[in-house]
Symmetry: C2
């Protein structure tokens, strides 16, 4: 373990885990959802709002920040926390996923990745060492190894090649991370949906030794059943005394099911992206505010929520704002969704604390199913 | 005067006026700037933020709200204040300006205007009576007469025809307004840039008698000099005991100069629209945050401002957000600009109270000129 960085597992309830990650910048209560602040901003929210919803940590993307404004520029301005006015921990991904999903003309070699920016076509190189250097320049509290992430479907041969490459990059990343008191470095399990490859990857990473372990390469088109199966095939091979982070996941239901399988950390663009498109996640399930049925509904999304975006504004008003393309509609629904995700995580943590997670899981899903609109 | 609606002129300083409009929903300190909430939202701001900047009143657009969500729908939902979560007074325009600038295939007759929606091409009719009915349904505190507004340039003949029509519509509007305790009805002076037409219009409206008088048909392409000249030609013909509202104006400098000529109220989309496009209005003049010179500037826009959008976030961060097309960039700069406009109005009011308006006007313009970036 890195000095000043630790994970305490307080309680398990079935396979679900309740813990605390301690970093030099503060504690992260797990299970935790990390709102995504791709380019140094959780889209559509003021940082104070993100704090108030109960988020202990946000995520930043190396890929986006290396293109704009550039890690050296951020470092000169005092680091990402100061730049973005975010006082709590930040996890940065390594850039691997975006190189696969966004960059143009990418070329992966043993050394690293060479790619063209999706913004202006400029050519960049990202090696495991450069990724760690960028994350250090940003001042990230949890720094991810560079990995090669494949889209689904893929052959086992490709999955094995990418997994083995990611394992060698893990070794180089760990080396490059060095000593950074209060900060942690996570390895990323790859191996597609192949049970054996996932096990080998988990064992290889554990042998290197990281402050935490991520399950990567999921939520890339394989579907929920295969994703959950892969988590079940992976989690038992990870050390119990380190946090486990399922990258890029997911819907509230994905999170509930992954927590049930021993996952501690999540991140996803879904609450903000869906919010911008008029979709709300609530205690009563998904609500598409674009739908005409909401046009004359004076009820707020959830009168009992402490978040004004959920408890103050009527569905009719939200419907009007979204249909009119108003910024406030995107702002309110992004805020509402981040608030709901955080209240879901709080509910999960409380339920595990009380040894009632399974009950909570079923009751939550039942309430989503029931909804709150009479047919 | 409508019962429960009044204007008190506290002090004049040269031609500048310091007053209070009292409505059933609260007081409006004048000179006042009204942020524009076209479709029931001041674009990019939470209503609480608009309040906190010191805005006593916002403006809503009849044209937009009649198309979407519709005045009857807003009334069913409890009126515009409740719908938009805005507790203070609202002024609504009559729709005349947008019919001229936005609607398609418009046809003006003695009866009123027939036009097609710019959203879906649907056909609408707006008469003086219907405009007043819509404003009553919305629950507007200050309701404007329907007028015909011409773009500049135009012939004197057209200006006279539109002015005379607007005068006849003023009569019908006043009739339709009826008795609405706590609310006011304003007439609109037209007449292009023709001195005699402006005088005739002002006299005609005064003879009908309104709670306030607007100067319309300016800031439509005539330029600042001609606009100020027209204000000088109009204001002396308006009763001193009623508020004077210059519609759709303007830049901070326009406002300063119009206050110097006896105007009490303003509205303009400029602070929010410019904010969305990366332009800030500050004590130090206009700052275009898109400009590369700001990329590594760690200074906030104005460290002494009580508004976090001006005092907390660095220019480098604002530059980054705007260049990245991030919502937060638009949110922060819209907020900053509304906050600056309101602090300018507070400065104007304080200066008139102290009998120092001319000094304030010169010092403010000098500070804009000086800027805060060394060459």
């Amino acid at each position: 373990m890195s000095e000043g960085f630790s994970f305490t597992l307080h309680k398990t309830d079935g396979t679900a885990r309740r813990g605390t990650i301690t970093t030099g910048r503060g504690e992260i209560r797990t299970p935790a959802f990390m709102p995504v602040g791709t380019a140094g901003t959780v889209k559509g929210l003021y940082p104070e709002q993100v704090c108030e919803t109960g988020a202990d940590i946000i995520l930043g993307n190396v890929y986006h920040l290396m293109l704009r404004p550039g890690p050296e520029e951020v470092a000169k301005l005092g680091g990402l926390h100061k730049f973005a006015n975010w006082p709590r921990p930040i996890l940065t991904d390594s850039g691997g996923f975006q190189i696969m999903s966004l960059a143009k003309l990418r070329k992966i070699s043993e050394k690293g990745a060479v790619f063209q920016s999706h913004i202006d076509g400029r050519k960049y190189e990202l090696t495991p060492e450069r990724s760690m250097e960028i994350q250090r320049l940003l001042g990230s509290d949890i720094q991810m190894q560079l990995d090669e992430c494949l889209m689904y479907p893929h052959t086992d041969k490709d999955a094995e090649r990418a997994m083995q490459l990611s394992l060698r990059w893990a070794e180089r990343s760990r080396q490059a991370f060095g000593k950074q008191p209060g900060r942690g470095n996570f390895g990323i399990v790859q191996g597609g949906v192949n049970e054996k490859l996932r096990r080998l990857s988990a064992e290889g990473l554990t042998a290197i030794g990281f402050e935490g372990y991520a399950i990567g390469g999921l939520a890339v088109g394989e579907g929920q059943a295969l994703m959950l199966q892969t988590i079940e095939n992976t989690a038992p091979h990870l050390p119990t005394d380190r946090p486990r982070y399922l990258m890029g996941v997911g819907t509230p239901e994905d999170i509930l099911e992954a927590v049930a399988r021993g996952v501690d950390m999540f991140d996803c663009v879904m609450p903000t992206r869906s919010g911008r498109h008029g979709q709300a996640f609530t205690r009563f399930g998904k609500i598409n505010l674009r739908n005409a049925r909401h046009a004359d509904d004076p009820r707020p999304l959830d009168p009992e929520s402490p978040c004004p975006a959920l408890s103050v504004y009527s569905r009719a008003y939200l419907h009007h704002l979204i249909r009119s393309g108003e910024l406030l509609g995107m702002m309110l629904l992004s805020w509402a969704n981040i608030a709901y995700y955080q209240s879901l995580m709080q509910g999960i943590r409380d339920a595990i604390d009380r040894g009632r997670f399974e009950e909570f899981r079923l009751a939550t899903k039942e309430q989503w199913q029931r909804g709150d609109i009479s047919a």
